[in-house]
């Protein structure tokens, strides 16, 4: 990495952190817009986990919402039924969700491609059924309402409910941290290995990479991000039901990654920013909402198979390669002329 790249990267990260704070403040006066921003931030955190699994490791897991749901339900139960502090319940349930994610991800060690997608769909459906059929923990189809916001202890003020712009800023910083974690992983030795696994896991193994270990690790980290996102989602929205974490939500999380650009840091963020607000903004046009959503996805996947940002990067790389090739051709021509 050149010093210019490093400077640009630093500026991007500072800009990202500033946006995570500035955007909630900018829309603080409009609760509807602020709520959408909060939901976008939760989805950025979820897609960060999905991007690690699918974009960088090539594991198309369709049970991500189920894992987020485990984080949400366990946190809610610990807080509402056992009186735990949210700040203790959230990490405990996130780690629990990550452990479950690893166990449910075990088929990925044996199955590849379509077969793993299928198995993860079945697991997602089973997890949703667990949410429905264990009402003592989940209140079944009715769901759990009036989930309290977390409380923060402030000097002089005592315990204060986290709400409004402050909650959205926290979600923004959380999303920023999630993306940052994925970025750091991708830049590390582990990042090189998981991308090798995504490209050809047999060859990765042949090069001495412990494919099983890295897949398990990716499932743990990805599920941890899902679990944290689920815990915050429950407390931010104040209501959860099995439909909040069903297969359609998993599909949407995957879609946002694919739409924005899998295997890129910015792509899933772009996917969330474009796709998450659509159902909210078009809620009065409910007849057209799904048609518009579907058409947008079809147009992007046909015109830009690598996603919005992924295609932008691909085209830039192709231009750079063409420039290098042209330079090489002229160098060889100059050498030939000089030799004559």
């Amino acid at each position: 990495m050149t010093s210019a790249d490093s400077r640009r990267s630093r500026m991007l990260w500072l800009g990202g952190a500033a946006l995570a704070v500035a955007v909630p403040l900018a829309v603080a006066g409009n609760r509807f817009a602020a709520f959408i921003v909060g939901i976008v931030f939760v989805h950025i955190l979820w897609t960060a986990g999905m991007n690690l699994l699918y974009g960088y490791t090539g594991l198309v897991s369709m049970m991500t919402a189920g894992i987020a749901g485990i984080g949400a339900y366990v946190t809610t139960n610990l807080v509402m039924s056992h009186g735990w502090s949210f700040w203790l319940a959230m990490p405990v349930s996130a780690v629990g969700a990550a452990a479950v994610g690893v166990i449910l991800g075990l088929p990925a060690l044996r199955l590849r491609g379509f077969y793993f997608v299928l198995s993860s769909l079945v697991i997602q459906s089973a997890v949703t059924l667990v949410f429905v059929y264990f009402p003592q923990f989940t209140n079944g189809d009715t769901g759990i309402t009036q989930i309290p916001h977390p409380r923060l202890w402030l000097p002089g003020e005592g315990a204060v409910e986290l709400k409004g712009a402050a909650f959205e800023i926290l979600l923004g910083l959380l999303a920023f941290a999630g993306v940052g974690i994925v970025h750091l992983i991708v830049r590390s030795r582990m990042g090189a290995f998981i991308m090798a696994i995504r490209e050809d896991d047999l060859l990765a193994e042949e090069l001495g990479i412990d494919v099983t270990r890295y897949k398990v690790l990716v499932f743990f980290i990805g599920s941890l991000l899902m679990g944290v996102g689920g815990a915050f989602y429950a407390s931010y929205v104040g209501f959860i039901s099995p439909r909040s974490f069903d297969v359609l939500v998993s599909l949407n999380i995957w879609l946002m990654v694919a739409f924005g650009g899998r295997g890129t840091i910015l792509g899933p963020i772009i996917g969330c920013i474009i796709l998450v607000p659509i159902p909210f903004v078009l809620q009065d046009l409910y007849m057209l909402k799904d048609i518009f959503y579907g058409l947008l996805i079809i147009v992007v996947t046909v015109a830009m198979p690598a996603g919005v940002y992924g295609t932008f990067l691909q085209r830039r790389r192709a231009r750079e390669q063409a420039a290098v090739a042209a330079l090489e051709t002229s160098r060889r021509a100059a050498e030939r002329i000089a030799a004559q």
Binding site: F193, L207, Q321
Partner: protein, 240 residues
């Protein structure tokens, strides 16, 4: 046994009713270049696959550098110092040459490709300097074969198993690859599967011949190529 680099004894491999390897004994000493020849379907690649851990053996034993490796995961066998190339060249096609090499360097424990002990020397030797930014799938077959080789050599192997290293190359490229392999032979222990007899004759110190999963001959290349059974089963009645 301890002096041998590779020691496979009575190795059996079955695919359903087919015996792909029939009590095959193969041994190789450090520094030796061992050739393996045989008709298509004779079990050569299957042998490499069982040695490198990609297939489990049904009977027999395999020792490498003094330790048993049968039943170990392929990545552990690679870390023990045994690496291989593939008949159909295998690189990360969508990654650049630099990214391919970096992955191998990192796997070998180096901090980066640039600081890899012999990374830069390898890149220069295999003439990949000008292609580092190119996507691997866009390389010529000869360049891909060199990249494949560079990735394996970055792992600092004790034994390199080459599965048809000149397969698909033009006559000129075969000549260039032969020069590379000849130099490689002076630095590494090689195990070479090849149909091109010139490669075997020039490179191998000793040759093992497999026919229908059975070892029918084992000896010096010149002796092997005069062996009546080898001529009858493999060379098709013509002396090489």
């Amino acid at each position: 046994m301890s002096e041998l680099l590779l020691d496979a004894r009575k190795v059996e491999k079955r695919f359903g009713g087919i015996r792909a390897l029939r009590a095959v004994d193969v041994h190789q000493s450090p520094g030796e270049t061992l050739g393996m020849i045989g008709p298509n379907g004779s079990g050569k690649t299957t042998f490499v696959n069982v040695v490198t851990g990609h297939l489990a053996i049904d009977a027999g034993s395999i020792h490498f550098a003094g330790g048993p490796i049968a039943g170990r995961a392929p990545h552990n066998i690679t870390r023990a110092g045994l690496t291989r190339t593939y008949q159909a060249v295998r690189v990360f096609g969508r990654l650049t040459v630099r990214e391919n090499l970096r992955t191998a360097a990192l796997s070998a424990g180096d901090d980066s490709l640039e600081t890899a002990e012999h990374g830069r020397e390898l890149i220069r030797w295999l003439n990949l300097e000008q292609r580092l930014g190119a996507v691997a799938a866009g390389l010529t077959l000869f360049e891909q074969r060199r990249l494949e080789l560079a990735m394996r050599l970055l792992l600092r192997p004790k034994l390199v198993m080459l599965d048809e290293p000149v397969g698909g190359l033009s006559a000129v490229e075969i000549g260039r690859m032969m020069a590379l392999l000849a130099e490689l032979k002076s630095r590494y222990s090689l195990f070479v599967i090849e149909h091109t007899m010139r490669v075997i004759r020039e490179l191998a110190d000793r040759v093992v011949v497999l026919v229908s999963g059975e070892k029918i001959a084992d000896g010096r290349p010149d002796d092997i190529l005069r062996d009546d059974r080898v001529i009858r089963h493999y060379l098709g009645g013509q002396r090489a």
